[in-house]
Amino acid sequence: MIPASFAYHRPASISEAATLLAQYGDDAKILSGGQSLIPLMKLRLASPPHIVDINRIPGLTYLEERNGALRIGALVRESDLEKSTLVRTRYPILHDTSRVIGDPVVRNLATVCGNLAHADPANDHPATMLALGAEIVATGPRGERTIPASAFFSGPFTTALAAGEILIEIRVPAPPARSGGAYLKLERKVGDFATAAVAVQLTLAPDGTCQRVGIALTNVGLTPIKAGRAEAALQGKRPDEATIARAAQLAAEESEPAEDLRGSEAYKRDMVRVLTARALRKALERAGKGG
């Protein structure tokens, strides 16, 4: 399959890339990992006349904790996340997620920031970033701004990024003591999109009640879904089995799955319930271990 012709641009800096985006508007598309974009171009589902390849821009591969947040630069690959000791020990939910995106070879190119910017409802990082309460840093003609993940996903393949804006960094708040998280994905095989997946990130108070809970769902709606009612059911409560079951039931009710080859609506909803309960238990276990 051969993509349609395009003009290829290889900016050497963010400002040069932003200028190109400003110049070509909707005719331009950013190429980072390309593991979603290039397949779409080969299928001619996308035929952008201008490709802005940001891979040669220096200084975008950082993955580090600074000023109370994990900072993920625009060119951090999924495999970088997967192999990072810092991520595995401090942000196990991100480690979980990186291991179920695409397959190991795809992850060598696919970027974390691209996974958000592409905003396919089947992408995995949107839910984890919602659960983590992450922020998205964008830069554009009107300067730099920070967008909460909860305000970023406006529709399928649609984000809050304005014309000419580039996602340059994801900021994940560093987890306080007694925090834990998990991402559980039901997939038919490696490389498939989720039948359903659930992200949970929580922090316990010293008395064992839930101080902060984030729960979000993948591929069971037109956007990633933040399960606010399920979160509320746990907030300030002791996370015993009855409370977990209630939260899981609420998450299932908040999901909006559509029937497809991966299963019926009822099946997917029930998988949300099962996965939410399991992810909560795993997150609690990790919170207990100080991870």
């Binding site: 399959m1 051969i2 993509p3 349609a4 012709s5 395009f6 003009a7 290829y8 290889r10 190429l31 390309g34 593991q35 290039i38 397949p39 171009m41 080969k42 490709i51 390849d53 891979n55 495999s79 695409g102 397959d103 190991p104 070879v105 795809v106 060598n108 190119l109 490696v190 490389g191």
Partner: protein, 157 residues
Amino acid sequence: MRVQVTINGEKHEADVEPRLLLVHMLRDVLRLTGTHIGCDTTHCGACTVLLDGRPVKSCTVFAVQADGRELMTVEGLEQNGKLHPLQEGFMQEHGLQCGYCTPGMLMTSYAFLKETPNPTEGDIRWAISGNLCRCTGYVNIVKSVQYAAAKLRQGGA
């Protein structure tokens, strides 16, 4: 657009359209046909090559992205007429039947063994989970990689 790449240690140049996929440059322009095109949809991994040492699916990279960079293809495994331990392993352990997935399996395994010289069976299965084989059922591929790992640990490369 003029593209310069180093493939298996040798410099190559080609004049390509930006839309040309890396696998097509390798096969059709530079006539390195060891790399196979399988599914052409980023699933099967038959087209896997190393880009700056990392396995990538060359059907999902534009040739222009490889400009100025280092590539390794299956043709680069054999040295001075001597098969690489992985190639030898695939022969000895019957790691292929039709052979279509083999170049990709070899390249993914090559990079994997550099990072993980003493892998468990689970590690190997995880590493090759982006490379599909429809013949072997993977059992003999795993054995082939284990064969190569053992030989490489003994300094056999």
